[in-house]
């Protein structure tokens, strides 16, 4: 086996796979009724509700003779979309419908605000983070201008509290920040926590 060619062979076969699957127009091969049964499983109460796996595959097969180039993924402006994705490691691609106008300015504002929050007033401050799946409330203790302690006071997310507590509070203290991040190798989301931390630290600003 020619080791030097592994990279090119794998990249080629993977790119072709992704491009081909886009081009097959998978999205429209699912009847809308099927699409809507793909409900959100509620992890906290009873069993997951996702239904009829396999139906989509059948629908897909039954559509195959016609499911070709004319069915595009709605967000892809033409077949070049997949090429764009392929090349996405080297540049931040800009979609045609990119809703970007107001973002730049506020982005700068926040960066400045962040720099200014380096010093906090001592005290205990609370913050709440919400999304469609639950909420999280926490209190941040500031001592000598630094994040000294973070306690989650209320928790009603769709995954167990043990997934994020006490690790996120500990990380916030260790890293002295409220970053949003993802975990490769695990599944927890940190957005609610970061949002609650953000509000608490806004109040703590010196």
């Amino acid at each position: 086996m020619d080791m030097a060619r592994i990279g090119k062979r794998l990249m080629a076969v993977c790119s072709v796979a992704v491009t081909t699957v886009y081009a097959a127009g998978y999205i429209y091969t699912m009847p809308s009724a099927q699409a809507s049964t793909n409900g959100i499983p509620n992890l906290s109460s009873g069993g997951p509700t996702q239904s009829t796996p396999g139906a989509a595959a059948k629908a897909y097969q039954s559509h195959q003779p016609t499911a070709n180039q004319q069915h595009k993924v709605p967000h892809q402006p033409g077949a070049s979309g997949s090429d764009k994705h392929k090349a996405s490691n080297s540049s931040t691609t800009t979609g045609q419908s990119k809703p970007k106008t107001a973002a730049k300015g506020t982005g700068k504002a926040v960066k400045k605000a962040k720099a200014a929050t380096a010093l906090y007033k001592d005290g205990v401050y609370t913050g709440v983070g919400n999304n469609a799946y639950g909420s999280l409330a926490l209190s941040v203790t500031i001592a000598k201008g630094r994040i000294a302690k973070v306690v989650i006071n209320q928790y009603s997310m769709h995954y167990p509290q043990s997934v994020i507590d006490p690790q996120l509070p500990e990380e916030a203290v260790k890293m002295q920040t409220w970053k949003i991040y993802l975990i490769s190798g695990a599944t927890a989301s940190t957005y609610n926590f970061a949002e609650a931390m953000y509000y608490a630290l806004q109040k703590a600003k010196a």
Binding site: M1, M3, I6, G7, L10, V13, S15, V16, A17, V18, T20, V21, A24, I27, A35, N38, I40, P41, P48, Q50, P53, A56, A57, Y60, Q61, V73, P74, H75, P77, G81, H85, K86, A87, S88, N89, S90, T94, P99, K100, A103, T106, G107, V110, K111, K114, N131, Y133, V163, P166, Q167, K179, I180, Y181, L182, I183, S184, G185, A186, T187, S189
Partner: protein, 304 residues
């Protein structure tokens, strides 16, 4: 709010928990984009799910000894899997399904149903899978239970990523396999932690990146209910994952590539993992059971 429009949603898919974050100002379109992304992933799952007897994958497995026309998703997933098997001399092998079933990975994660394992030929390997490019047909020479887990999950992430192109930023996390694009809700590159192999509450390293996929294959997320020493990533020629390594993280421009290479590197074992990733011209980080971290130069520039 933190400065960007943002939406996050979590569903059970692909045998794991899938979360998608989308960042952008167009609030009205966020929900629609979210559904489309999940639909794309759900479609791949419906076709490639080895736990669902109605999947195209299982339908194919029921028809050994004949040419079977399969959906493009399945054909392409098989093609990537077969290529990877060849490149690893069979250490990675999609015919691993029956062996996984022996070790008790037989319960459908959504319905809890036990999967009836079809009769399989224990001598089946990837070489018993033939693919015809022109007719998009597949021929299985022996009865086998295919498992496209790693490849299908990567392909699903890449499809969802395609659906979400055009947004200021998005992140897809399917059970620890991550794709990030553009900016996070703060307008910065995404921050990605690498799960600590021993402690659910710790990250062993931090990466800062965007427009890339990060996949970690490891021993610690799913353990065999039959034998706790066995995990769901099996090297087919020795029945257990190679000792020594506890996880392999790979960064690649496509999730299917990152997932395939991290899985293959992991089953190749401690002494060959990083070389394989290097040969694949990708960034890699491997952790052994002594918690020693090894990475190549390509990975170093992402590590915080």
């Amino acid at each position: 709010m933190i400065h960007k429009g943002h939406r996050e949603e979590t569903r059970l898919l692909m045998g794991t928990i899938v979360s998608i974050d989308i960042v952008g100002e167009n609030q009205n379109k966020l929900e629609e984009a979210m559904s489309s992304a999940f639909e794309a992933m759900g479609m791949v799952e419906a076709i490639c799910n080895r736990f669902d007897e109605h999947s195209a994958l299982r339908a194919l497995c029921r028809r050994p000894g004949e040419w079977v026309r399969v959906p493009d998703v399945l054909f392409e997933a098989l093609r990537v899997a077969r290529e990877l098997s060849e490149l690893t001399d069979g250490a990675f092998d999609p015919t691993v399904g029956a062996k996984l079933a022996c070790f008790g990975f037989t319960r459908h994660y959504v319905t809890g149903e036990m999967v009836a394992t079809p009769d399989t030929d224990p001598t089946a390997t990837f070489q018993d899978i033939s693919l015809d490019e022109t007719t998009r047909q597949v021929y299985l020479q022996k009865p086998m239970l295919l498992d496209l887990g790693a490849v299908a999950k990567g392909l699903a992430i890449d499809l969802a990523a395609g659906v979400l192109q055009g947004w200021d930023g998005f992140a897809i996390n399917a059970g620890g396999d991550v794709y990030v694009h553009g900016e996070d809700p703060l307008g910065e590159p995404w921050t990605i932690g690498i799960q600590h192999p021993d402690a659910k509450d710790k990250r062993i390293a931090w990466l800062r990146a965007t427009d890339i996929a990060v996949c970690t294959s490891g021993t610690y997320e799913r353990r065999s209910p039959v034998d706790p020493a066995v995990h769901h990533l099996l090297a087919t020629d020795r029945n257990t994952g190679e000792g020594g390594l506890v996880s392999c993280t790979v960064i690649a421009p496509l999730a299917v590539l990152a997932d395939a290479v991290s899985t293959a590197a992991f089953v190749l074992g401690e002494h060959r993992a990083l070389d394989f990733i290097e040969d694949a011209e990708l960034a890699g980080l491997c952790i052994n059971d002594q918690l020693q971290m090894q990475m190549n130069d390509a990975m170093r520039r992402y590590v915080l």
